[in-house]
Symmetry: none
Subunit: 230 residues, 2 copies
């Protein structure tokens, strides 16, 4: 569900593996690097959403890498969690000074790791920015996640909501079922194209006679959201 990419930097393959398994179970995509150089290459190449960085690394130390990452414009925004075996308070302070967003002391439970990773990601993700869209008495307000037709709010499922939101943001244009699957369901799912029809139907039903004209069928092509009656 998250789809976030995590880079794990640790010279101990066993530890990397342990972490990777835990994270993959929580539905994160994992990249692994054994040293700072390898890590840096992966960061540039794959743009991970967050980095788990071991304190001790052969060659360039973890803290050194963190400092460099935080200096560079393109990487400064990537949150970093430091992993350390030492319990010294000193490390904590220096780690955070360098710009790590959190630190975890080994040994740690996979559970704790995932939870803290989630917390850091949560803080690093900017909130959505949206204004309500209104068409002929039909209003969709992203901030309250509410759809209402002339005052009274409609009850529609998540998929219908996304579908409607997409349509209202892209009016007057025909979209094929395939395009809608890409845009509304997300590119890498496999669903029958006919499924789109069903959701269109559900959406129309929810909109009611007053507004269902907005969603128009274009035979042989797809669907269109238009204020102009067909």
């Amino acid at each position: 569900m998250s789809g976030k990419t995590v880079l794990i930097v640790d010279d101990e393959p066993a530890i990397r593996e342990m972490i990777a398994v835990a994270l993959e179970m929580a539905d994160y995509e994992c990249l692994e690097a054994a040293d700072a150089l390898e890590a840096h290459a992966l960061i540039i190449d794959r743009q991970p959403d967050i980095i788990l960085l071991d304190w001790m690394l052969p060659g360039t130390s973890g803290i050194e890498l963190a400092r460099r990452l935080k200096k560079e414009e393109t990487t400064a925004g990537i949150p970093i969690i430091m992993l350390t075996a030492k319990v010294e308070e000193d490390n904590k302070i220096r780690g955070l000074e360098v710009g790590a967003d959190d630190y975890i002391t080994k040994p740690f439970s996979p559970r704790e790791l995932v939870a803290r990773l989630k917390a850091v990601l949560r803080r690093a993700t900017p909130p959505g920015i949206d204004a309500p869209i209104e068409v002929d008495g039909l209003t969709l307000d992203p901030s309250s996640h509410r759809v209402s037709a002339n005052e009274s709010s409609l009850n529609i499922g998540p998929t219908e909501y996304r579908l409607l939101q997409f349509f209202m943001a892209h009016q007057e244009r025909v979209y094929t079922r395939s395009q809608l699957l890409d845009q509304v369901w997300g590119g890498n799912v496999y669903v029958e194209e006919r499924t789109v029809d069903v959701h269109i139907r559900r959406l129309r039903k929810a909109l009611g006679e007053r507004h269902d004209y907005l969603i128009q069928t274009v035979r042989g092509a797809g669907y269109r959201f238009s204020t102009q009656p067909a």
Copy 2:
């Protein structure tokens, strides 16, 4: 009608001016600042009722400033509306969610600005004053730290209190479990997201049938506090 003071923080003089004119027309008093330092000084000195804060600022970013303001006791109560550019919406930006009260995307119409500003002011707690919030017979009084429904006071725990307070100060907007953990529990804790559900449940139970409709579930999204029935 208002006489409220608005602080406009943006490094672009033309934009400040445009906003100022619009607001003065709506009978607000305007202060202007070009950067975070100037803004901070004005906030201390003039105690504005609300702040319009540009997301991107030279030096300290808008997000940074917002976070600091929300941390300090004396300024935490001042509502903040973030201004952001459309282009940034995609993914380039990383910032901390700091509890801005609303977001507006540039470009925006003066009309929209005034409307949302009014909305935020309406539901915001005046700075420095612990004014009770009342909704449909349900009252939360920060000064006595009490919640009462139609005269009789309710017995709720600290977490439920904070949760309710947050909701009543931010009505009509959906918050994900993640956001609630940030805002109500505080950013650095790690707790299961489902824990939120449990506290929501406790809060609803405490509110009783008379008021539990105020806390609404938005399937697939989170929770919302709204006087308008789902």
